[in-house]
Assembly symmetry: C2
Homo-oligomer: 430 residues x 2
């Protein structure tokens, strides 16, 4: 038998999992600080629910990359490819839910796609969402939360903000053919990457005349401040939908000022989730990191839940999705000391197993994470073990020390040793 993982998935050994757990705990804690509540949905969903066109988005790879399976009753099932679709299904099934509903989900999602560096077939997302209000305060809450999350994780971020209505409105104003709008938006979105020249060429290939191209290159250029970019667009764009989008951006910018959020940059060229986002969209990038892809992205999706319910009732919703795997890569890049063990103390008995075990239990009762020798090994191999695992302190329990009602505490980093009275064991600082 070939002993291997499935293709495109991976194991996390302690040194990675400890860090991953820390990321998850920090994010969870911050979500709760903002009053978001946890829910959980299954990894398996009905295939029909996962593949609803208005949910997955036609331009997305999610549909063809959905892992399919059947149960023994031949029911068609699939593994979820994101957390948004299951959440929409959840809201649809809980009509009595108190609104607004602020939730977060954490979980594994799956895509049966091509494997590249940093791209896996199972990966973890954490998503805060607010459903039941169309107030821009909700979008502002998501953005402020996101800045706080990344700051707590030790990152400075750039949060790009746009509003789908602005792109839509400008497409309308320029009278771009309906079927050409998504492709044109995709080209505009590349301004950062391929520059004005590149975008100009792409738009020309997509059949836009020079006048329209020049208008686009000018109008989508960011000014020095968010307010200046808003002002320019307000005066130059002559379309109601776009003006509505701009008012929403203005409102969010004003709220974020009160929140104290500093890292938002209004970028009118930002296009994401064209098939399902209906209002503000956000995309988060790390500053000072080798990781140039976004680490989180989201936006307002006011129509998906209503579509599931085939309901006239409106279910406005906004949220964001954090990519835990890419955040882990970014943290690993910071070269923090690697911990292979959570243990704070490792206890080594020198032929006094019973007393050592009592000390181990005393330490644990005091809330100190404690491991100890399970194999009757000698002092030096035990010290080597504790050292390899990066456990910071060792307590050596020997008969001579015990006769003086003491043990020896060794700082593994400095090598310094001190005697500790048995009565003071639960008070050691580790």
């Amino acid at each position: 038998m070939k002993l291997d993982t499935a293709k495109g998935v991976r194991d996390f050994p302690p040194e990675e999992k400890i860090l991953r757990d820390k990321i998850v705990a920090t994010i969870k804690e911050t979500f709760e600080l903002y009053g978001f509540n946890p829910i959980e949905t299954p990894i398996i969903e009905r295939y029909e629910v996962l593949t609803a066109k208005f949910a997955a988005g036609e331009e997305s790879d999610a549909l063809k990359e959905t892992f399919k399976l059947t149960d023994q009753g031949e029911r068609k099932l699939g593994l979820r490819f994101d957390l948004t679709v299951p959440f929409c299904r959840y809201v649809g099934m809980n009509p009595k839910m108190k609104m607004p509903f602020k939730k977060y989900m954490s979980g594994q999602v799956f895509r049966d796609g091509p494997i590249k560096t940093g791209r896996y077939r199972q990966f973890m997302q954490m998503d805060p969402d607010i459903v039941g209000t169309d107030s821009m305060l909700a979008d502002s809450e998501i953005i402020s939360l996101s800045e706080t999350v990344f700051n707590k994780l030790g990152f400075e971020v750039n949060i790009k903000l746009n509003n789908r209505k602005i792109l839509d409105g400008i497409m309308g104003q320029l009278d771009i053919d309906k079927e050409n709008r998504f492709p044109v938006m995709v080209s505009i979105d590349k301004l950062d990457k391929i520059g004005k020249q590149g975008v100009s060429e792409e738009l020309s290939e997509k059949g836009l005349d020079n006048e329209k191209i020049n208008y686009i290159l000018n109008v989508f250029e960011q000014e020095a401040s968010n307010q200046e970019t808003i002002n320019k667009l307000k005066s130059e764009v002559n379309n109601n939908v776009a003006q509505e989008g701009l008012s929403e951006i203005q409102e969010i910018i004003n709220y974020l000022d009160i929140y104290g959020v500093k890292s938002v940059k209004f970028d009118p060229s930002l296009a994401r989730g064209l098939a399902y986002y209906t209002g503000p969209v956000f995309e988060i990038y790390l500053k000072n990191s080798k990781i140039t892809s976004s680490v989180a992205g989201g936006g307002r999706y006011d129509k998906i839940i209503g579509n599931y319910l085939q309901s006239k009732k409106s279910y406005p919703a906004t949220g964001i999705s954090y990519g835990i795997d890419v955040i882990l890569e970014a943290l690993k890049e910071k070269n923090m000391p690697i911990k292979k063990s959570v243990a704070q103390v490792y206890v080594i008995p020198i032929k006094v197993k019973k007393q050592a075990l009592e000390i181990v239990q005393t330490l644990r009762k005091a809330g100190i994470k404690t491991d100890f020798d399970l194999m009757d090994r000698g002092l030096s191999s035990n010290l080597d073990y504790a050292n390899k695992l990066g456990i910071p302190y060792v307590i050596i329990v020997g008969q001579r020390d015990l006769d003086n009602k003491q043990v020896t505490l060794r700082n593994m980093k400095s090598g310094k040793e001190e005697k500790i009275d048995l009565n003071d064991i639960s008070k050691i600082k580790v």
Copy 2:
């Protein structure tokens, strides 16, 4: 479209997920107190790995209940049905791992089986394991950890302890046919449930004569204390394998005495995991609960990892698996107050949104979990919302209070209100 979950799986709304998260956090914290380190393996495994006979166990339903799927490359895959098989695969793939290796895993597992009350097709397990030592100290560590876990969760437990070698040895001593041994052990295991009479009938049907049946009924009867049961078996069983098992039980009982573990009961009739356990086995039951099924079970499996590697090298291992779903049911039974929100404070602005938002951010910066009105609703519907969600405190921000540099803090349970100075907002006790 039928808006529903897949058959046999379920959603957890906040009031259940908050409790579930608390269970998981308590268990995780206790695992780490005992020096167990987290690892993570994927939900998808190669089908061949999952279905190795020596791993799943032939008597188990796991094989036929494994969810199967394929990737786009037509590779045969499956969803893991427990956490032990992936862990064995992990150990096999990491030959340089420092031994002993103390790990825990938390995760979803899947079985495509019949649906009953309390039985789901996706459920959560948390497993601590120690690999790399055959010392009974490792098994004792798992048992002591388990008692601590359940006590911290607020439960008193009965931990049943046995050793596979005792059952094996007695089967040998009685000269039971090889193919009849598992069935006979399964009957003996029912002593608790169907009594001596019932077991006697089953054994008779399985072809045992009266002499053997009477020997079995006597030898498997528990005495008043663990030591007496050990002593009786030591004197009455005439088989080396069984005597080895008894010595191991003696050793564990001695260690657990030092650990301070009180809830272990040696039960020589306990049979579990007959296909793969090789030494001590444990099964945990709650005292004073309507839940009569076990909430955790495990044992020593010294051969599975070596079998995966087709290796002569020995990989002794022991561990246990906690059923998170059944623990959640048991906690819900305790009628604890239901929390639909993690928020500690809900802020209601009376037409002073900006100042309210500043107060919200001040509270959050002070580490207080804070939600607030996102919908410009009136005071009474906001109070109703906070009340329905079970948020314990509300802060009402109105202009008159603000003129006095104050806000109103309302205790939602007692209805009492007090004025708080703006400067003291981050110091409120919630």
